[in-house]
């Protein structure tokens, strides 16, 4: 089995690992900072799933094999000239989506960290059992 064929399954496997570790951190870890990192790990895992899908040639708007044979449309006329590129190129849409998703994740991460600093300054602790004790009571 070549490295190329293993690439996509390995990416999905890594993504699943990131999501599981992230969920573990969010549910079981007491430290607020670790919970916040857990959320970002989940988000990263999902982004990896999304971008790995871009390597799936089946869903490409134009299949490389047909592009090589010169099949194209008015919209993708340019691709006919570059069959090698068409054969190598990934589906570009997931890359654009992941970029947007990363920006959103960073924004949420930044706000959560800012609140975590405020909470740390108040309680002098990052432990959720200390911070959320009053809520439980």
């Amino acid at each position: 089995m070549s490295l190329e064929t293993l690439f996509q399954p390995m990416c999905f496997f890594t993504a699943a690992g990131l999501v599981v570790v992230g969920l573990y951190a969010v549910i079981f870890m007491d430290n607020l900072l670790k919970k916040i990192i857990g959320v970002t790990l989940i988000s990263d895992g999902v982004n990896l799933v999304l971008i790995t899908g871009g390597f799936n040639k089946i869903v490409a708007i134009i299949s490389p094999e047909l592009a090589e044979k010169g099949v194209s449309s008015a919209i993708y006329e340019g691709l006919k000239e570059y069959p090698e590129f068409a054969a190598q190129a990934a589906y570009p849409l997931p890359s654009a989506l992941v970029l947007t998703s990363i920006v959103i994740s960073v924004s949420i991460f930044a706000i959560m960290l800012a609140i975590a600093i405020k909470l740390y300054n108040h309680y002098n602790s990052m432990s959720c059992s200390v911070i959320f004790k009053e809520v439980d009571q």
């Binding site: 999501v19 869903v59 490409a60 299949s63 959560m112 975590a116 809520v135």
Partner: protein, 496 residues
């Protein structure tokens, strides 16, 4: 000059976003913030009504011919650009949101206004409008995330440690729910190679003729989890009610409206994509019943007025979900109608609490009281709001609740009708308890305070409450004026 080319649906999202950016930069300059804020809310208030119903293709890219035989996408035409659909129901939703956003800004207008605070309200309007109008599933995800950030920021704006705790919890849950939606979208994209909901609806319809693929069920489950969070349904009802209760009551009125409209908008997406999944309606019905029952039970045992209202809002969202879960055309129409009605009615109560909180500086019902003759027409308007939320005639919610009850009986769920009636009675009891605590109970020390002199603050709140009560009564007397648009909308969905 053709105004149709200027007042396009995209402006309903673009303008509040631009206003939010400007207000953010003006933070700290009180006069400038107030000037931009007043212009922004006026424009936001007018825009939905002057924008004509239309389908808007971003970048002017309409549908294109598909590459014949070159791909596994079987549709002959594809939407390449992001599409916004703006019709009468969307106009109604965004119009109501604009009224409540205006209330949230103007009620506190005499105080020192934070530019960031107003910016977050504008961001809330932009994101909810986009979710309501967008026909692109990734675009909906992006704006749901922005909505979560803006709601968390509006809670943070309170500035106390409890608000920070609520905001961080909300963001953690929001992050997980957002990832869940994104994973569902990734599965759809990997399977079908497209994001446009109308295109996906067509291609999935062709696909499920040979049986429902497992990937579709997984995507449905993941997006359903996101829907539960955004709608504040069980098991996310506690965090949602926490957010409502920690925010300023005038902003909570705006937030609960956002939640109800997002509930409907996301349900439409789920229905159009996954209507083939047989257990979907049963699942929605199940969580909606639980949300309604838990919401009203929790409301009955609250000792804080904001929490009481927050749980009633959750219970009412559950009632909206019940109609959607029944899934018949009558039930869905009644349910969307109830979302509109309840958003208006609940807002009256949140605004009345805004006045009470301004005077008493506490949300504890044991520490308030004696305000019946001290707050102008607010108690009267509050009482009318309580009747409206409880579904009493001649208010609008009576019309929608009655239709949900009839639809439940007709669809073979008579026991559900009984449950809805019992919930309405329990809601009335819980709200009357709150009314008694605020207005009828013996007065407290603060009654001797000089702050009780009527201020312009009350005048503005009273005015907004009166407008909302007027709208509730007007819709109550002429429900058909709103219902006909909702009926058209439900028919146009084409999957019920």
């Amino acid at each position: 000059m053709n105004l149709d080319t200027i007042f396009v649906p995209a402006l309903l999202v673009a303008f509040p976003l631009i206003a939010a950016i400007c207000l953010n930069f003006l933070h700290g300059k009180d006069r400038a913030v107030k000037a931009v804020a007043i212009i922004s809310v006026l424009v936001v208030l007018v825009l939905p009504w002057i924008t004509n119903a239309a389908v808007y293709w971003f970048g002017g890219h309409p549908q294109v011919e598909n590459v014949t035989g070159g791909t596994n996408i079987v549709l002959s035409k594809l939407n390449l650009a992001i599409v916004y659909k703006y019709a009468a129901v969307q106009k109604l939703f965004i119009g109501i949101l604009a009224i409540l956003a205006t209330a949230a800004v103007l009620i506190h207008f005499t105080e020192r206004l934070s530019g960031v605070y107003i910016a977050m309200i504008m961001l809330g309007i932009a994101s909810t409008s986009a979710v309501i109008m967008a026909d692109d599933i990734f675009n909906i995800f992006v704006f749901l995330e922005i909505l979560t950030i803006s709601q968390a920021a509006l809670v943070i704006a309170i500035g106390n440690i409890q608000a920070y705790k609520t905001a961080v919890k909300y963001l953690i849950f929001g992050g997980i729910a957002g990832s869940s939606i994104l994973l569902g979208i990734a599965i759809l994209l990997n399977t079908y190679g497209m994001l446009n909901i109308s295109d996906l609806n067509k291609v999935i319809t062709l696909d499920i003729e040979a049986g429902i693929p497992h990937t579709l069920i997984v995507a449905c489950a993941l997006i359903f989890v996101g829907w539960l969070f955004e709608s504040g349904m069980v098991p996310f009802h506690i965090i949602k009610s926490d957010v409502y209760s920690k925010a300023r009551p005038s902003v909570a009125a705006f937030m609960q409206t956002q939640t109800k409209f997002v509930l409907v908008a996301l349900w439409v997406v789920i229905l159009r994509l996954f209507y083939g999944v047989s257990t979907l309606n049963a699942l929605i019905l199940g969580v909606a019943i639980l949300s309604m029952v838990f919401g009203v039970i929790m409301a009955l045992k609250q000792t804080e007025i904001t929490r009481l209202l927050a749980y009633v809002a959750v219970a009412q969202a559950g009632l909206v979900g019940i109609g959607l879960g029944i899934g018949t055309r009558t039930a869905v129409t009644a349910s969307i109608f109830h979302a509109v009605n309840d958003a208006l009615a609940m807002s009256i109560l949140f605004l009345s609490v805004s006045v009470v909180l301004h005077i008493t500086k506490t949300v504890d019902m044991h520490k308030m009281g004696g305000l019946l003759w001290r707050t102008g027409y607010v108690p009267l308007l509050c009482l009318l709001g309580i009747f409206a939320v409880s579904g009493m005639p001649p208010f609008n919610t009576y019309q929608s609740e009655y239709r949900i009850i009839i639809a439940a009986s007709t669809a073979g769920y008579p026991e559900l009708s009984v449950l809805i009636i019992l919930t309405s009675i329990a809601t009335l009891v819980a709200l009357i308890k709150g009314f008694y605590a605020m207005y009828l109970k013996e007065g407290q020390d603060y009654l001797t305070d000089k702050e009780l002199t009527p201020s312009r603050y009350h005048w503005r709140t009273e005015a907004f409450m009166a407008v909302l009560v007027g709208m509730c009564i007007a819709i109550g007397f002429t429900p058909q004026n709103v219902l006909m648009y909702i009926q058209d909308f439900v028919t146009m969905l084409g999957v019920i």
